[in-house]
Amino acid sequence: MTATEPSAVPFSAQRVRGRFSDRAARLASRAALALVVLILATLLLLILREALPALGSALSAEGILRADWAPLADPPRFGLAHAVLSTLMVTTLALALAVPIGFGIGLFAAEFAPAWLRHVLQPCLELLAGIPSVVYGFFGYVTLVAWFERYGGMATGESLLVGGLILAVMVLPFIACTSAESFAAVPRALRESAHSTGVTRVHVVRRILVPMALPGLFAAVALGLGRAVGETLAVLLLAGNSTALPTSYLDRGQPLTALIATELPEAALGTAKYHALYAAGLALILLTVTINSVVWRLKARVMRHGG
């Protein structure tokens, strides 16, 4: 540009250089963002597209919402009800166990544990969070499944109960760490002031810590819920992988993720089964997105309130 006469336009050389690299960087980062958006939109649209044929007749007697899963029947039926119910059941059990214990651990780490114990506890929880799903599945298979069969008098150890128990262990560190963080984030001064009124620790926890940490606690539950819904290999190995509609936790079941993992390999492109499996995938996406947006809202509201 007009950088030939530096004296005529002060600082021009510097500005031209800066402006160019800036524009390039802006362009590059925008392009990266656009690519990210594009990829993610493709992901959603593709799964939606592949699921669509199964959604059309979802409510009919043969549709994915009402039929059972009988791929070898004539005509085959591809209902997802058993999988949705299994997912709900294992997730409920996992959270019912992991939420109270996780909050307890979080509170313990933030309030009760001496510093040295906290420095041990934190890596321990990270260890628990770092163990991959398949190892949990394997671990549950050689411990809980075997024990329940030997000592629990169950016909088979594989059950929604065992799946839920292992899932609880899997989501526990996420709930514990997130809640510990949000308890610890309550300002020192607030705690100190509360204690200086001479009240007991229970009182401070109930009246100060819990209200202040509430958004974080919600986030913790949501995080755990999302993880529990999406876990595949642990439930694949432990829930029993059977297509009956479960009626109790001692029954075997097949959560959505396990259904996909079991059936996708032989679902030929474009068949009803293929579409039903993508509908299962879509259900998982919708479930997690719903969880996320509810929490997003809730978090904003609680934070406005708590101030």
Binding site: D68, W69, A70, P71, L72, A73, D74, H82, A146, E149, A155, T156, E158, L236, G240, N241, S242, T243, A244, L245, D251, R252, Q254, T262, E263, P265, E266, A267, A268, L269
Partner: protein
Amino acid sequence: MLKVAVRSKLAVAAIAAATLLSATSVVRAENGALRVGGSTTLVPVVANAAMAFMDSFKSWQRADAALPDTQLVIYVTGGGSGFGIKSAINGTLDIGMASRELKDSEKDALGVHQAYLVGKDAVAIAVQVDNPLAKLKQNLTSDELRKIFSGEYRTYRDINGSLPAQEIVLLVRDAGAGSAEILQDKIMGKAQVAPNALQMPSQGALLKKLESNPNAIAYISAGLGGESGHLVTFALNGVEPSHPTW
């Protein structure tokens, strides 16, 4: 004397010219990779065969002079018969393995292809030695079998009043497995396998589970079942699943 309870063909469905030994167009990838996958019944055998094949030849040319001098690599994976055939159709695998006959629709979809029969195995109905049924019966009829697998009999007492009321635990393979389709074809007919059956991911897993659970009953490769010391196999309609004489 063809006296096999339920017979299955272990067939190898392969796409055109994709044979294990004289592949030409199959080794199309520059690195000379050959992909084999499908029936989990075949995986252990084929995997070991592939390893031995790679070890002894190293390059495709040394296996067959007509082939290029590229490194000989064979990948083996499971996934089930359905997966093997499907992948051969859509080209994600070079050789599909199946533990059942190809259906006409599949043959059409494959187009030009070759199917190789590598062996036959019977599907046997088996239980663990401590299973209540093992002491009572050596033979099951098709009708009994259908009632067991369809869930009409829920407990062992339903089969015979003298047996304890323990739950019958059905171990089955997932719908993509060859043996699952054979059971459906030969025994179940219109009836469905009870949905509360445990779907096992492979023959090996099914065997392990069957060996460890005294309540379980399953259909299993007669070869696998016969080798195990913990299992008892039943005759079907009076026919033993042993010594196949095809």
